[in-house]
């Protein structure tokens, strides 16, 4: 498990934060910078987390791993894999050297998300360098812990705007014994209908993506359930590498010729009438759209069904994340002001006002 590069560099990170607090210098927190394309363009002095790395503790029978933020995600996944375990939320990396800190700060999850939960659902505890210049610990290494406010899960998807995540404890799970992927020709309307039916049955589906022509399914579980589901659903066998290509946006669909949008919608939303090709992931709850349509139009259509839209094409918009309603923005600002009173952590990365 140990690696020659493992090092507790938290003292240096804390020192840099304290310097920044003293000089009121904004910090741009980054690991491998693999998610820089997402969100607003940051400004400030770079705080590089990659020197603070290594797995602090991992006991497979406890189903908990504690990792420093600068640890490469690939290294963590390899260690889990060797113990026949996994991070069920399948975080995408977007680069070979993506870090665990970036995984948590961006909060992005992969194809298994609707069935297993998101990154935030596997967070048990964190250590954070705060806007008061303290290195603190929240949550812990146990499955159940309701002492105090849940600041650890709040960090997931906060894009570093509430503090520097230095360490995270994650719940991990055994890998399924059997895994099989299939593909069935059908329309997207039909696919959404079938997924709604199957969702009410104990079928071992762990990924579902429709590319406009075919529904791709992954079945995971014990030998018995996977074989039974395959017998029932039929379909052609699908190369399992498909899911990683989908997750890392390596499928042909993601070739950039038009702006890329991520639409997060209720899972049973009918196909959305928006110009441009769409790819339905997460059993219908996450839809990728390539479209030159106006942001306001896309957001209006998605908002009407109870969802929100994020622009994945970097630098195209000043508000890549869907703007918040005024009341909610007010409390976001309050929270930011309380946790980062000098406004030094990734200012403006998530929203201009934060």
């Amino acid at each position: 498990m140990g690696n020659a590069a493992d090092f507790d560099d938290s003292a240096a990170l804390l020192e840099q934060v304290n310097q920044a607090l003293e000089n009121a210098t904004p910090l741009r927190i980054q690991g491998a910078n693999s998610k820089a394309f997402l969100g607003r363009i940051g400004a400030g002095e770079i705080l590089d987390t990659r020197s603070h790395r290594g797995i602090v503790s991992y006991d497979p029978t406890e189903l908990v791993v504690t990792v420093r933020c600068g640890t490469p995600l690939a290294e963590l996944l390899a260690v889990l894999d060797a113990a026949q375990q996994m991070l069920p939320c399948e975080p995408p990396a977007f680069a070979d050297d993506a870090t665990v800190g970036g995984m948590l700060a961006s909060g992005l999850s992969g194809p298994r998300r609707p069935w297993s939960g998101a990154v935030r659902d596997f967070v048990l505890g964190t250590r954070i360098i705060t806007g008061h210049g303290k290195h603190l610990r929240f949550g812990g290494e146990v499955m159940k812990n309701v002492a105090g406010y849940d600041l650890s899960r709040l960090m997931a998807g906060s894009f570093g705007s509430l503090g520097v995540i230095t360490e995270v404890s994650l719940k991990v799970l055994p890998k399924p014994r059997q895994c099989l992927s299939i593909s069935l020709p059908m329309s997207s309307e039909r696919a959404l209908q079938r997924l709604a039916e199957w969702g009410q049955q104990p079928l071992p589906i762990s990924a579902a993506c429709h590319d406009g022509e075919r529904l791709h399914l992954r079945l995971e579980g014990g030998e018995g359930s996977v074989t039974a589901a395959h017998d029932r659903l039929g379909g052609e066998l699908l190369e399992p590498g498909y899911w990683a290509d989908l997750n890392e946006q390596r499928l042909g669909f993601f070739n950039e010729d038009q702006p890329l949008w991520r639409l997060s919608v209720p899972n049973n939303t009918p196909p959305l009438a928006l110009p441009g090709p769409q790819l339905l992931d997460w059993g219908g709850a996450q839809r990728w759209l390539k479209s030159a349509a106006e942001a306001a139009f896309i957001r209006k259509v998605v908002g009407e069904v109870g969802g929100h839209a994020t622009c994945y094409s970097h630098g195209l918009l000043d508000d890549p994340f869907q703007p918040l309603p005024p009341a909610l923005l007010h409390y976001h600002r309050n929270l930011k002001r309380q946790l980062d009173p000098r406004g030094i952590f990734n200012p403006g990365r998530l929203y201009a006002e934060l």
Binding site: A147, D150, Q200, L335, Q338
Partner: protein, 499 residues
Amino acid sequence: MNILYDERVDGVLPDVDRAALLQALHERWPALEVLHQQEELRPYECDGLSAYRTTPLLVVLPRHIEEVQGVLRLCHERRVPVVARGAGTGLSAGALPLEKGVLLVMARFNQILHIDPAARTARVQPGVRNLAISQAAAPFGLYYAPDPSSQIACSIGGNVAENAGGVHCLKYGLTVHNLLKVDILTVDGEHLTLGSDALDSPGFDLLALFTGSEGMLGVITEVTVKLLPKPQTAIVLLAAFDSVEQAGRAVADIIAAGIIPGGLEMMDNLAIRAAEDFIHAGYPVDAEAILLCELDGVEADVHDDCDRVRQVLEQAGASEVRQARDEAERVRFWAGRKNAFPAVGRLSPDYYCMDGTIPRRELPGVLHAIAQLSSDYGLRVANVFHAGDGNMHPLILFDANQPGELDRAEALGGKILELCVSVGGSITGEHGVGREKINQMCAQFNSDELTLFHAVKAAFDPGGLLNPGKNIPTLHRCAEFGAMHVHGGQLPFPELERF
């Protein structure tokens, strides 16, 4: 130390003109039910932790969200503390009223607004009982997974406020893992929607922050939960062991075999005997520990896993492994565990239920230390344990009519929680801090961490009017409490003066 609100260490509360407040409530909301007579207030003086009682200033029982909003606005204008309460089943005095505060009872919001089988969601009012959601979803083959032992009575609003658990958490998660959306009113009556009908929302994950926030940040007015398809089949194995160490090792071996049981519970000898005496579940009363292991899911997988688990249990040294032969026996095996609290209650006039969590590997050492503490304090302790997720429920037996026994039970309980913290665990897994564990928060968090918690509170309730005194202790309380717990010659919170 007295656990009731103490303005000296918990902070001064605004003085309230009760008559004027009552009059204003009547004038603004003539249809709103307000209780103010002493005999009407008495039933509301405690929640599920009945050892702590305070008579509230007033009790309001709104039926419409506009009334809740009106009460919050009025109380905000007049600086009156508000304590929200659901079914009142909480075990940490999280809904303990204040003499200077209004008790806002949300129990009448008991409508299931919509079950959407295709989306697998239920939209409900906060006063809906936990079990009622699963009952309403049952015709569609769906259910709501978190199942706290009070699920017949506890309401979903309280479940969200406490991040309630249950016996199936390792596999199916806590309340926070099973929510999509929560509507809240802020301290000044402003409406916010946290989360959405989609799987995520833009901005900070305030849904996660509010879950388990114990009514300190807002009042829950509507909840949308996720529903799951009911497992096709469930099998329960009961294994007896001659020592708790063996049973603990067996739990680790099951996980190491790559199996995540739906439920995995351990009971020690005192708990086994009490449950058997009460329920006649067929438990082996001579065993030092039993494990109940439930495997659920698709039939073929469950039978495979069952064979694997049986093998693991036998290799771990189980003196006996029994499989429930039919549904009736499965229910009986569980009945013993689910009634362990009342069963232990028959052994003693009173019992006090703890809720610490530990890394599972620490179990044998912690149980030995608890046995030692039990003999030091002269009080018996029965142990039931959510073995899968490390959540312990030691039950301290005492008699409140014997002078000093309640104090001894509280002190022993505090020691057990500090023991959990010292091995890397937590003072509460699912019951919440409330008022009960307010002092032990000082053992789990340092003053900087507590200060950050207060900063979170200030972002939503700068005047500190929502449920004051719960969840996060003041630094002054910790200074006073900590003074009794000198660690290695060093006082915690050295920067604070001692009272």
